[in-house]
């Protein structure tokens, strides 16, 4: 319906194309971009940075969350510092990211990592603290080794909450990616938006916006399905 309205208004030239692209121009730019392959390259670059940043946040945040969640001493020692850094917007690190890593993949991955590591870390800490005490008693009664406790009890017990936070992080990573690529990238969907704006190519700008929204939305649907599956099976929902 929105598309139809857009097509109708632009067909009658009800507004200026410098404010918002005409529908036909938008269709043309899709073909142009597919033909040149630029949008595919940007998409690959952005998806790579998105997944790398997210992956690093998980492999750093999850184990640290497990340790802090289980260890009162680590909570006392680390939580004040982690809470301090958590309150900083990851975008505030852009100048440092560029100075430390230059322009390209690394600063963007670093910024996505900073945006995602705190949600996974704090969600894991909370999930570990919410694990029923009776599971620890069972582990003792049934002689679980530490590694068995981790793999067979703790990780399955926190999985629904971790998957939930993964969904939150996936969305957050796209939100961080766009401004990060605008300022610290030389390709990618965020950079393409900035480039389109500089060239006053509103059609290209809208195309890149739509691609980001579509990809982020599809990933969100996938994670929601995964989240629902694990949540239902673990018994939090009927």
């Amino acid at each position: 319906m929105v598309m139809g309205l857009w097509a109708y208004l632009s067909y009658h030239q009800s507004y200026s194309s410098s404010v918002f692209p005409y529908f036909l121009d938008f269709l043309k730019v899709i073909l142009e971009e597919l033909k040149s392959g630029r949008i595919i390259n940007d998409l690959i670059a952005s998806t790579y940075r998105w997944s790398a940043g997210l992956f690093l946040a998980i492999i750093f945040g999850l184990p640290l969350g497990l340790v802090i969640g289980k260890n009162k001493f680590a909570q006392k020692l680390l939580l004040p510092y982690l809470n301090f850094f958590r309150c900083l917007s990851p975008l505030a690190w852009i100048p440092f990211a560029v100075i430390w890593f230059g322009i390209g993949d690394a600063p963007v991955i670093f910024l996505i990592f900073l945006g995602c590591v705190f949600p996974i870390l704090f969600n894991t800490i909370q999930a570990v603290q919410n694990v029923p005490k009776v599971y620890d008693q069972l582990a003792r009664d049934y002689s679980y080794k530490q590694s068995e406790y981790l793999v067979d009890i703790l990780l399955p017990a926190i999985l629904p909450q971790v998957v939930s936070s993964l969904r939150l992080m996936a969305g957050l990573a796209w939100i961080v990616l766009v401004p990060a690529e605008m300022l610290a990238g030389k390709e990618g969907l965020g950079f393409a938006i900035m480039d389109a704006r500089n060239g006053l190519r509103m059609d290209l700008l809208v195309l890149n916006m739509i691609v980001i929204a579509l990809i982020a939305h599809q990933i969100d649907i996938l994670l929601l399905k995964l989240n629902q599956r694990s949540t239902v099976r673990w018994g939090f929902e009927q």
Binding site: V134, Q137, D141, Y142, P156, A157, R233, W234
Partner: protein
């Protein structure tokens, strides 16, 4: 019943911070004794069970227990990500396979055959509690600790579950320590009832559960009331 002690709590004291719970507490349980510990809420019944199980360490005194001990908890402790069958088979961990009860036997006695492939959330309260009992018993323990295991069940299911457990204990005798605040349950289900007395708990009054159950229940009840008045 034999004369060999399987569980001895000797002069045990325990406090939570500055709140004393048990003081110079003593209890001796013989092999194949089936006993219950009664006391009002907050008198340290669950703490005592946690001390016996090893979750807590006594601040003074010693606890000796021999053989394999398992317990059934007040709240559901089945792992929700495992099926009923997988949950029950956890009870075989660390036990020699020649000593265990047969899986089929325990499933048959506890009538769990139809729900083996189900997840815990798909079980009724009674089925869930029977699955917990099955997990505790499949390794054929020497002793069983029960922490108000029927308190979350309604009257009929509670009665039925107790009967299932009685049947198992008849067929496979073992020592059992039941912690409860339900006097009729203690009288009907166990051979001896111990009333925890003193605050902090420091002595036990023993009742042999034979004779008229109603009269005995009243006697124990009076003992609890007397204790409340004296404290």
């Amino acid at each position: 019943m034999s004369n060999k002690s399987i569980l001895t709590i000797d002069n045990v004291s325990f406090s939570y911070g500055t709140t004393p719970i048990l003081r110079n507490f003593h209890l001796d349980v013989k092999e194949r004794d089936i006993i219950s510990l009664i006391g009002p809420s907050g008198f340290g019944k669950t703490t005592l069970l946690q001390l016996i199980a090893g979750d807590l360490k006594p601040q003074s005194g010693t606890i000796f227990k021999s053989g394999l001990w398992r317990r059934v908890f007040q709240k559901s402790s089945l792992f929700p990500w495992l099926t009923v069958e997988e949950n029950i088979k956890l009870g075989l961990r660390g036990v020699e396979s020649t000593k265990t009860l047969s899986f089929e036997t325990i499933i048959e006695i506890l009538d769990l055959g139809r729900v083996l492939k189900n997840y815990p959330r798909q079980l009724s309260g009674g089925q869930g509690q029977r699955a917990e009992i099955a997990r505790a018993l499949i390794g054929r323990p020497d002793g069983l600790l029960l922490d108000e295991p029927f308190s979350s069940l309604d009257y009929l299911i509670r009665h039925q579950t107790r009967n299932y457990l009685t049947e198992i204990l008849k067929e496979f005798p073992m020592t059992m320590v039941l912690v409860t605040h339900d006097i009729p349950e203690a009288v009907a289900f166990t051979q001896k009832t111990y009333v925890m007395q003193g605050q902090p708990a420091c002595r036990l009054k023993e009742f042999i559960n034979i004779g008229d159950q109603k009269e005995l229940t009243e006697k124990i009840w009076n003992e609890l009331e007397m204790k409340d008045e004296t404290n």
